[in-house]
């Protein structure tokens, strides 16, 4: 009996410790989810992964029509080819990742304690190329985005479970930086991300309805009908920053990686559903 109790205690200690320690981000996340669910009581939690289509029926029908045969299928196909292409020395991209291909997308963004910064999937792919004597791909290149599209496709249906390790001050700082970015007003229009996607969610900006931030990161990269091509999450960030008339940060800049870290954590529990199709 005593032995069992001791074992139980041993098991519980790390769990309790962990829960107490991640109270910061986890409290944030719960409040975040609650806010959007109270704004849209008819929308189920899982539906928020569908972005604006969770809350706009006419747009949703058009999206579903496009999803009948979405143009991003070409990107998935290209990504699959590139994923399996032999690197110099005969290795493949897959060899750099110590997990099955369908578990790679969900492993990012993650805080890398050794580097002291957030590593995203795009960065990890470029790291791998450079390890194998290849140049880094541009972060807006069709090749890199296609690879992320393929990995996103393999990860469909898996839950978002981003970790902000409570015992890693660097991770917490990166998360907090992302959070600060999200809530800070910037640019000539003096808008924060949250002004549009929290306070004014569901309202119109000219003809566009503002999407909920809950679920913003699950479906990237996306095929933009407007552009007739794929864009990454960071390109979308860049577009939003530009829209409020602030100078955008570089794709995969520390600012945007931290923002991705924070926003991804807010989406914990939703399912990955990328790549996506957007107007």
């Amino acid at each position: 009996m005593k032995n069992t109790a001791a074992k139980l205690l041993l098991c519980l200690v790390p769990i309790l410790w962990q829960q107490a320690a991640i109270a910061g981000p986890e409290d944030d996340r719960k409040a975040f989810v609650e806010y959007f669910q109270s704004r849209f009581p008819d929308v189920s939690f899982a539906e928020f992964a569908n972005g604006i289509y969770a809350i706009d029926d006419d747009a949703r029908r058009q999206w579903q029509d496009i999803e009948e045969f979405p143009p991003y299928e070409f990107a998935i196909e290209q990504g699959e080819t590139l994923w399996h292409e032999a690197l110099p020395g005969g290795a493949q991209l897959a060899d750099c990742f110590e997990r099955p291909a369908d578990e790679i997308r969900p492993a990012y963004p993650r805080f890398d304690a050794d580097r002291g910064e957030v590593v995203t999937l795009a960065v990890a792919i470029n790291d791998c190329r450079q390890t194998h004597q290849l140049s880094a791909l541009a972060y807006d290149s069709e090749e890199l985005i296609s690879i992320t599209a393929y990995l996103a496709y393999l990860a469909r249906g898996k839950p978002v479970a981003i970790r902000v390790p409570a015992d890693d001050p660097g991770a917490i700082a990166a998360y907090e930086e992302g959070k600060r970015f999200y809530y800070s007003k910037r640019g000539q229009l003096n808008f924060a991300c949250s002004d549009c996607h929290v306070t004014s969610v569901g309202l119109y900006v000219r003809a566009d309805r503002l999407s909920a931030s809950l679920g913003h990161t699950t479906h990237f990269p996306v095929y933009r009908s407007k552009l007739g091509g794929m864009i990454s999450l960071h390109q979308r960030f860049s577009g939003c920053v530009r829209d409020v008339r602030a100078k955008p940060f570089a794709l995969q800049s520390k600012e945007f990686r931290n923002l991705e870290y924070f926003l991804s954590y807010m989406g914990n529990g939703l399912e990955f559903n990328g790549p996506g199709a957007r107007k």
Partner: protein, 150 residues
């Protein structure tokens, strides 16, 4: 090869291009003049010999009320009319109103879908030609200027 002869008159450049094509593509000529028309009525007249069509509730035209993006507007047209020969999509306010025209051989169901571009808010007209005449139905699709997403 009546069609081939007509095209031949357009000159040797076109002929050279056509010669390289698989023969099946010559089955029907691409209705160049109808596509070039800048008014919906003219496009219809060129394509069908008349711009008159009979409104029909046996045609189902599925289009959005407000296009998410004028560059990609999903359109589905189906009909319960019999002996359908072709289905065409006409966007009245586009600079070239005839967007597409689908030839329906016997055995093919009169049910087609595609995605089209719209420059501005406009009536979208589904035109069905059968062995008895020209029928149509139309719906307005609003095209708006986007804010951030568009």
């Amino acid at each position: 090869m009546d069609v081939g002869r007509r095209l031949l008159l357009k000159g040797s450049v076109a002929l050279a291009a056509l010669a390289a094509l698989p023969r099946t593509l010559l089955a029907a000529a691409w209705p160049e003049k109808a596509f070039a028309a800048s008014e919906a009525d003219a496009a219809m007249s060129t394509l069908f010999g008349t711009n008159e069509s009979t409104p029909s509730d046996r045609i189902t035209l599925k289009v959005p009320e407000i296009a998410e993006n004028g560059a990609v507007v999903p359109v589905t047209i189906s009909t319960t009319l019999e002996n359908v020969e072709s289905i065409s999509i006409v966007v009245r306010n586009n600079p070239r109103p005839l967007a597409a025209s689908f030839e329906i051989p016997a055995g093919t169901l009169p049910d087609v879908s595609s995605r089209i571009k719209m420059g501005e808010t406009s009536d979208v007209i589904a035109v069905v030609r059968t062995n008895t005449g020209i029928y149509s139905t139309s719906k307005q699709v609003k095209v708006t200027i986007g804010g951030c997403g568009g």
